[in-house]
Amino acid sequence: MSFAELRKICVSYDRKNLILKDLDLDIHEGELLSLLGPSGCGKTTTLRVIAGLMDTVGGTFTVDGRDMTHVKVHDRGFGVVFQSYALFPHLTVRDNIGFGLRMRKMEKKEAGIKVEKVAELCGIGEYLDRFPKQLSGGQRQRVALARALVIEPKLLLLDEPLSNLDAQLRIQMRTSIKKIQQELGITTVFVTHDQEECFSISDRVAIMDRGRIVQCASPEDIYHNPANEMIARFVGFKNFYPGSVYRALCSSADESALCCSRPVDIRIGSEGLAGRIDVRTYLGSSYQYEISTEKGSFTAVLGEENIYKVGDCVKLSILKEKIVNVGK
């Protein structure tokens, strides 16, 4: 049994259209799980359901074996970092971070020590007496994270926390988030629409599309074995053809299913499917070729050891294990 489980969760804003449809999701203890998908796919809604900020019309949600479906937000005790940071403008950084402890009626002295400790961990120890207005975006982000962490939540929920930061700061922040998450061993759910960001820090990734989870696996697994065509395209697969076409490149390929491959795995040699090079683009240390064959056009990427010219007639082949079956 997983640490946290969502079972057949349904969410609807207007009681007609379902935003989430029978969503199942398992979250393992101590992992960083990302929800990845295009905007409008329901990833933020899923996070809000977990946080308790959104009502469901069906399904159950349990954490550590305890049914949380109808537990109110303020009793769940999860840490949430919002996209807009949502810092309290009239409170200092110290009081912002200590807010959750104040609500728990913790003794002032003890709370103060805790606040300083978590601020130190998040790298904002020197800004404790400033107001949110006096901080930069990255610093605000760290305050929001510290505020969520100080209550020692069972679950840490991050809603696109990096989307308001510039590119360089983003990479820096995602590394800090990962570091802090590992140090505390805190179970974390991270919502993002950025594939690179997501793959770089997640232990597992749940890819969502139209209110459903289409694949939930480790980044490596998704990268090598995408569950469907959408995901395959998302992680860089090309050359989508039925297995029968791939037969011409590799005699032992499966017949029926829809297959694809990465451009780097297409080999140009003396045997296989005949074709002609239409376009050549230089990628720096390698070339990308568009090759037209009687079965359709293929994309291949080859190193600089054998350079072909536009118009050259070549033969394409591929190893069987490099062909990825994406169903249907």
Binding site: H74, F82, A86, H90, F99, M103
Partner: protein, 258 residues
């Protein structure tokens, strides 16, 4: 250059039209003579003291202050609840309602006073003191709803949600996190409401009962029978008070946006 000069003339003319009468009133207030005149006999503050000797004016001032403060407080409290309801569930209905609530500031006071008199005094037989209170709350309400709902719209909804995830019940989250953020809007609404209630004549005219003289009304009846500069002196004091309120609003509301 020509247009520039014309613009200056128009601007000066407009400003004079607005401010010269006020200046004249101020001049008359310091007259040591017995009549309201801009050709003053000498400088004196005696009319300022006379204001506080006139029982009718002092009583009316007390009454207007009480009425203004009470209706501003109630108007702001109602305004806060109304604004929450109207801004947190945006949609056609709430937008229409918002406009409807604001529209009472467009209805002429005389009409509103008459309608209130007919409805709540004649038909519902509500005592005049309460009727006057209701009338003045209605004067305050458009300002309070407009200012507070604008403040709420500027306030990030996720702040309240963040407070709730940190262990706050909904009401506490509002009091601890949203309300402090609305401080400026609430204070502006209170002052605007108070000033408007304090200055109002038409609504009070219909709804005031015996012994319920509001200050502007008392001033009107005072000049009807007496022609000394007491009212000028009182006007100067009211102007200064209003100016003080306006500066206070600006300081408080301006601080937030800076």
């Amino acid at each position: 250059m020509y247009r520039h000069t014309l613009l200056k003339i128009v601007a000066i003319a407009t400003l004079s039209f607005l401010f010269v009468p006020l200046l004249l009133i101020m001049v008359t207030a310091f007259n040591s003579g017995d009549t309201i005149s801009i050709f003053i006999d000498g400088f004196s503050l005696r009319w300022f003291f006379k204001v506080f000797k006139s029982r009718s004016l002092v009583n009316a001032l007390k009454f207007s202050l009480k009425l203004g403060l009470l209706s501003a407080v109630l108007g702001v409290v109602i305004g806060i609840f109304a604004s929450i309801a109207l801004t947190r569930r945006p949609g056609k209905v709430s937008n229409a309602l918002l406009n409807l609530f604001l529209s009472s500031s467009l209805i002429p006071g005389v009409v509103m006073g008459y309608v209130l008199f007919q409805c709540i005094v004649v038909t519902l037989q509500i005592p005049l003191a309460y009727a006057l209170m209701i009338g003045h709350i209605l004067i305050v309400l458009p300002y309070s709803i407009r200012l507070i709902s604008a403040g709420l719209k500027n306030c990030d909804v996720s702040i309240e949600e963040a407070a709730r995830t940190l262990g706050c019940r909904p009401v506490m989250a509002f009091l601890l996190v949203v309300l402090p953020d609305l401080k400026g809007a609430i204070l502006s609404a209170f002052m605007m409401g108070f000033i408007n209630s304090f200055n109002n004549i038409p609504v009070s005219m219909y709804l005031k009962g015996p012994g319920m003289n509001t200050l502007p009304y008392a001033m009107m009846s005072y000049i009807e029978y007496t022609f000394d500069p007491t009212v000028s002196a009182l006007s100067v004091m009211i102007m200064l008070f209003t100016l003080f309120c306006m500066i206070a609003i600006d300081r408080i509301a301006g601080k937030r946006s800076r």
